[in-house]
């Protein structure tokens, strides 16, 4: 009897131990299987040097690795730059112009070719040779501008040593965002013999846990595990995830309702596209926290006001417009997908601190405008024809009308909207809508291109408000040269308020995205990186 008690006690202890061990495990789902996903349209490119879209970056986040990358994590943690092919973060010289990195040992491309330090130089050269939209990020490297013209002779500012793996990059002037720029997919290492042409249909060998094995523009593409990851790369980069599924198949399904329907029937495991507006709340109500989750990427939606011509050259008029704007109305216009905000730095960006200098007060706005008494009340409101930007523009136009302006709404095609409003020759650029998605989660990405006087350009202008305040310009210029740290974050925090006091914009919020998966996928495991989107290595079958 005592033996039986002892045996039962041992059995009980073993059971408890097993339960406890399973609780401690990071995930309890299955390994392997084929993940199926759908995109509404094929990404711009499946070539890391060429793609300049969130869709393309998501597709290649786990195939082509730069020296640095973004941490595979949700929220603010996902904005952290971490080493990828490099052993560690760069060593930066005192004058902030020289960056030193060392390539990890024993790395191989998926075709078995060894990864060498000199591949970084050839990768950056390919970026210029192929006229990549990302090339401006690397023009600050010594000799890069000359190479962009001649495309021969290499870039003298990049020195590499294949034996030691050392990579030294010299910049013409300090650049506080260069660490972020080294984490962009444009400079993900590719074999030196990669042709300087679009390789979307002929996938380039990968360094990440997955490789693209088939790509058919307009129809879809598929991934398999990179054979070199298990042999060498995975061990060399232990901080990067291996991925759970063996294969990933992505197809193009242009109709959003069909995408939703296929997930509801478990025919597809995941849709990259946001759930269509008319189904958003239905899907949210039915599947939230089991198969559906609202995600918070980094972006900002705002109305700019041209600060260099009447009536918006008057600070009081711009402040009145900010008081008149009701972010609650815009939340409804965006059908619940907008997270209201009335400041420049959105949530998730280092330096963000929530505040609202202009809580909605129409009576105050009207009184301020009466006092300002602008002589020019005929204004043009610009927006694009993409839903719900068109409605947002119509709303803003109506608000300005209620304030006493004679507002004319100008809705133009979304494909060339920013080219049109970024051209100084375009007449009547008074005020308009902008959705801004920064290239990297660095506060500088909001101030330098959008609000610094230096950014005002005759074409491709991104400082739509034509904001040019010498004092604030100097602060932005100083911060743009410094690496981001606690001190800089404080300065950006203060800068956010200072700019909002000048009211060049009427910001109204950040737009959310969604993750919607089939009932077979473990939603809790799915990571949404704020820069790259859903992390395909995190998808796991239950």
């Amino acid at each position: 009897m005592r033996k039986l008690h002892a045996a039962l006690a041992v059995l009980g202890l073993v059971s408890v131990a097993l339960v406890l061990s399973s609780c401690g495990s990071s995930s309890s789902g299955k390994e392997g299987g084929t993940l199926t996903g759908s995109y509404a349209s094929f990404p711009d490119y499946l070539d890391p040097a060429l793609s300049y879209s969130q869709e393309g970056w998501l597709a290649m986040y786990n195939t082509y690795l730069p020296l640095l990358t973004y941490k595979h994590a949700d929220g603010a943690e996902g904005a952290e730059v971490v080493p990828a092919l490099a052993e560690s973060l760069p060593e930066i010289s005192a004058d902030r112009k020289t960056y030193k990195l060392t390539l990890r040992k024993g790395l191989e491309y998926s075709d078995g070719t060894p990864v060498k330090a000199s591949d970084f130089a050839s990768t950056v050269e390919r970026v210029f040779k192929i006229s990549s939209p990302g090339s401006p990020f690397y023009e600050g490297i010594v000799g890069a501008e000359e190479f962009a013209k001649t495309r021969t002779g290499g870039i003298p500012g990049i020195k590499t040593d294949d034996k030691t793996g050392e990579i030294t990059i010299e910049l013409t002037s300090p650049r506080g965002t260069f660490t972020n720029e080294l984490a962009m997919l444009f400079v993900a290492l590719v074999p030196p013999n990669t042709p300087a042409k679009n390789m979307t249909t002929d996938p380039i060998p990968a360094t990440g846990p997955y490789e693209i094995v088939e790509s058919e523009p307009g129809r879809g593409w598929s991934y398999e595990r990179n054979p070199q990851w298990a042999k060498a790369n995975g061990e060399a980069m232990p901080d990067l995830p291996d991925g759970h599924v063996d294969k990933i198949e992505i197809s193009i399904v242009r109709n959003g309702a069909t995408q939703v329907n296929e997930i509801e029937r478990d025919k597809t495991d995941w849709m990259q596209t946001i759930v269509p507006a008319d189904l958003f709340n239905k899907v949210k109500d039915k599947y939230e926290d089991t198969q559906f989750r609202v995600e918070h990427p980094i972006n900002l939606y705002f109305f700019w006001m041209n600060t260099q011509q009447p009536p918006f050259d008057d600070l009081e008029v711009r402040q009145a417009v900010n008081y008149a704007l009701d972010t609650a109305a815009l939340e409804r216009i965006y059908a619940g997908s907008l997270s209201a905000a009335h400041q420049i730095l959105p949530e998730g960006v280092p330096g963000h601190e929530a505040f609202d200098l202009y809580p909605h007060d129409m009576a105050k706005a009207k009184a301020m405008l009466e006092e300002a008494s602008p002589s020019d009340r005929e204004i043009t409101v610009w927006t694009n024809n993409e839903s719900p930007s068109d409605d947002a523009g119509a709303y803003f136009s109506d608000v300005l009308g209620k304030l006493g302006f004679k507002a004319k709404l100008k809705v133009i095609n979304g494909d060339n909207y920013y080219t049109v409003i970024g051209n100084a020759e375009t007449p009547d650029l008074d005020t308009g809508f902008t959705a801004w998605i920064p290239d990297y989660p660095n506060p500088n990405g909001f101030f330098q291109p959008l609000l610094s006087g230096e950014s005002i350009a005759p074409i491709y202008n991104s400082n739509f408000a034509k904001m040019d305040d010498p004092k604030l310009n100097a602060k932005v210029a100083k911060l743009s040269e410094e690496q981001l740290g606690a001190e800089q974050e404080d300065e950006y925090r203060a800068l956010d308020r200072e700019y909002m006091e000048k009211a060049p914009w009427a910001p109204f919020g950040t737009n959310t995205l969604s993750t919607f998966v089939s009932s077979e996928i473990d939603l809790d495991e799915v990571i949404f990186n704020p820069t790259m989107g859903q992390d395909l290595t995190s998808f796991q079958f239950k």
Partner: protein
Amino acid sequence: MEGRSPWYLAYRRLRRNRVALAFGALFVAIVVFVLAAPLWTDHVAHTGPNATHTTEKVEVDGEAREIVNLEGKPIEPLFLAAGGEFFLGADGRLGRDEMVRLMYGGRVSIFVGIAATLIATLLATVLGLIAGYYRGWPDAVISRTLDTIWAFPVTLLAIALGLSLAVGGLQIGPLDLSGSSLWIPILIIAFVYTPYMARPIRGAVLSLREREFVEAAVSQGAGPLRVMFSELLPNLLSTLIVFFTLGVANSMLLESTLSFLGVGVQAPNTSWGTMIGDGFELISTAPLLTVIPGTMILLTVLAINVIGDGLRDALDPKSKLRLEAHAGIPEPDGTAV
């Protein structure tokens, strides 16, 4: 027997076509409905077609109800529950009065249809008269140019023109139209439909110019312009009236297609086509936003087509024979066929 003019006989025949008359009455009712828009706006709805009410409330049976709820869904038709305000509900997330927009949108749709067809008919008549009367090289130039336009599918050509002109507008000499001008879709529709009218007009002119009355006019010293506009044109009038009527229906349909695709009528103007486009996004939660303007287009185009058919039957002798043989309608002098 008292002689009666062909126009009087046509009027008699049309009057007997009860279906055409019924649809004529329907069209008149639709026109009165859209013309009454300012009255409805001022005295019933108390809001304009572009006024937004996103965060406002409307009182229904003593209860304040949101015009647009937090999830962006607009209020459903209230009919007379709020004194006529939001009679057909709100139009979407901006909370604009759907009934007011339907009335103002109808004005734009009908205006675009009529204006575009009027321009196309005028152009086609002039081109058809010149090509058919002069023949030779003027005919070759005009016919080949029209053939070139004809070679493009109407809708695709209109979409391509709409896309390019909606952005930059149209600047030709003194003509300077912004991309949002209502005249852009009007001119595009007129341009693409002109060949479809000009070719049959040219054919009719080719036939008419060989008739004795033309020879008589020429022998009396009438110049080409006088022959074309005093002799040929009056004989084309019945054809033109039928073309014009049926053309209005086609133009309205094309306008709706272009506006639905975002390359026709541009904001802040609205038409039934733009309303379908706006409502389409909410089709699963608020289908009436698409169904109501769609029904208005259907009824208007159907009415115009039936009127057009009635006019053709009344004005064209061949169709007269067909209609009368089928319906047993007596001849104007009272003798049954």
